[in-house]
């Protein structure tokens, strides 16, 4: 019984495709891909709508107020109202803007964000597209986002947009390196770039109790934290939302977009967030595996989306709690701290593997990471370089 609940979507898709049994093979292939694509779009667009209202409610609770609560029960129909508002707004394009580039930029950003969702395993046997170099595909598509951000900034023919786009691209390029290098220890230990294999390598329980997820190893925990922070930066979320900081640069590269195109940018940012948290859950948190052997009757996709929701809650929590960092602080953090720590994770993973993957390896890799962390903290300490703060006007 529990197996069929787990596989209910796979069985459903097979039933749908059984209507095409007589057709040539390319029709079945295209039909299968189309079913996958529509299922993916349906799930994630609904999740996007839900998350936009949940984020506002959670942010409101953090700031000691109610979020939106007028439309529907507990305000949960707010996305419908938002959607109608966005659709009926006038679509303003600046007169001297480059029309083709201005139009294609949100399309490209949304397209690359949705493409990245295609290789993540959502449940047992529920990966939309299995590519041999799946992780490389994810990062290749993510790096195309920068070009699309540039198109948005340049196509608007506006100096603020251009500055915002250049800041956004500088930030995204700087954090792409830690993002990719923190994935390398996982790929090294598993020996494959396919997300399905990586999830399968996190199967089983050590001592019958603790799941063998990579986040429970020292290098995995450090790599998970670094990957999570880099993902925050790549999605331009607070505390790293300099590209869309409203008090500084109006809306950055999205200034000249109104109505539906702005909604497309918004959607692309959220879907990028889903993709990065989905990949973090796949690589470090064991994908669709259950945390305790006793809870394995719960279907695999429920576990995946539970982990996804937990990570998204942490994203929203950070947005409500932390102030925005300065651009030069962001760059310093990336190049001087995150990159050396990312390289240390690779060394720690190798030490863990070659010292036998037991307690001895655990302690040695923990030692490697701790030594590097403390060395970096001492080297990068800026407390003694600045004079004590004096306030001219505040008493």
């Amino acid at each position: 019984m529990s197996i069929s609940v787990d596989q209910i979507f796979v069985i459903g898709k097979r039933w749908l495709l059984s209507w095409l049994t007589g057709a040539p093979s390319w029709v079945t292939q295209i039909g299968s891909s189309l079913v996958n694509i529509f299922a993916l779009l349906g799930v994630f667009l609904t999740l996007f709508a839900l998350m936009s209202v949940l984020e506002r409610k959670i942010l409101g609770r953090i700031q000691n107020r109610y979020g939106p609560n007028r439309v529907g029960p507990f305000g949960l129909f707010q996305p419908i109202a938002d959607g109608i508002k966005m659709l009926i707004k006038e679509d303003i394009v600046p007169a001297r803007a480059d029309k083709i580039v201005h139009f294609l930029a949100p399309v490209m950003i949304a397209a690359t964000a949705i493409l990245a969702l295609g290789i993540i395993p959502y449940g047992r046997g529920m990966t939309p597209f299995t590519i041999d170099g799946g992780i490389l595909f994810f990062f290749a598509v993510g790096s195309t986002t920068e070009l699309a951000v540039f198109m948005a900034g340049w196509g608007s023919n506006n100096k603020f947009s251009m500055l915002g786009a250049m800041r956004a691209i500088a930030q995204m390029i700087s954090y792409e390196l830690p993002l990719i290098i923190t994935v390398l220890p996982v790929v090294m230990i598993v020996g494959s770039l396919t997300p399905d294999t990586i999830v399968a390598a996190q199967d089983g329980y050590a001592f019958g109790l603790v799941p063998r997820w990579f986040v429970f190893t020292p290098w995995g925990a450090a790599a998970f934290v670094l990957f999570f922070v880099s993902g925050l930066v790549e999605s331009n979320r607070t505390p790293f939302d300099v590209p869309e900081g409203e008090s500084e640069i109006v809306a950055g590269h999205m200034t000249e977009y109104s109505g539906f195109k702005y909604a497309t940018f918004f959607m692309a940012e959220y879907i990028g967030m889903f993709a990065i948290t989905g990949l973090a859950a796949t690589l470090f948190l064991g994908g669709w595996h259950a945390p305790l052997r006793a809870l394995e009757f719960v279907p695999s996709y429920v576990w995946f989306f539970a982990k996804l929701s937990a990570l998204l809650f942490v994203y929203i929590w950070l947005r409500g709690t932390l102030p925005r960092t300065r651009v030069d602080q962001i760059m310093n953090f990336a190049w001087k701290f995150m990159l050396p720590m990312a390289f240390t994770c690779i060394v720690a993973a190798a030490v863990w593997h070659y010292a036998g993957r037991g307690l001895c390896g655990w302690l040695w890799s923990l030692a490697v990471i701790a030594v590097t962390y403390f060395t970096l903290s001492i080297l990068l300490d800026t407390r003694r370089k600045f004079a004590p703060r004096t306030y001219r006007f505040a008493e």
């Binding site: 170099g133 490389l136 920068e146 070009l147 540039f150 340049w154 390029i173």
Partner: protein, 160 residues
């Protein structure tokens, strides 16, 4: 190998490449350069070298195209169009094309069909890179480091 896919990708890539070579505005040419490389990556996928196609998208579109676009921005002088088109270049290009086509069509041994190759997995490429091709790998690493440092030194502001 699907012939419909081949024709579509070929037309797409050649159209984008022609747009790159002939468009007047620099920015449009740089962006259609990125599109042409998507087409070439699609060719790599069609030929069964998926890893190379992904590396192509990653390096060329994610890095080289962004570099080119940034450089166009940093060297603007409010003169967007590129005045002056040298027509003798067209003649030379057509002549070279004619010569290459003659060489290709005259060679006898090129008309075979594709054999079924085993899928080129990333694991296999990794093993080969670390065993037979380890020296070129180290040299390319050294070259990239030298290029990185050299490019930085070229562009750094001179100390006054």
């Amino acid at each position: 190998m699907n012939s419909v896919a081949f024709i579509i990708i070929a037309i797409f890539t050649l159209a984008a490449a022609l747009a790159t070579a002939t468009l007047q505005k620099l920015m449009h040419a740089a962006l259609s350069f990125a599109v042409a490389f998507v087409g070439i990556a699609a060719f790599f996928f069609l030929l069964g070298a998926e890893f190379v196609g992904l590396v192509q998208i990653f390096v060329y579109i994610g890095a080289v195209a962004v570099l080119i676009v940034f450089t166009i921005l940093l060297t603007r002088r409010d003169v967007e169009k590129d005045r002056g088109f040298n027509w003798s270049g067209v003649v030379v290009a057509i002549a070279v094309f004619g010569g290459l086509i003659l060489a290709i069509l005259k060679t006898q041994s090129l008309s075979g069909a594709a054999l079924e190759t085993p899928a080129l997995t990333v694991k296999f490429i990794g093993e080969v890179l670390m065993t037979s091709y380890v020296w070129p790998l180290q040299c390319v690493g050294l070259l990239l480091t030298a290029a990185l440092i050299g490019a930085l030194i070229l562009v750094m502001e001179e100390k006054r």
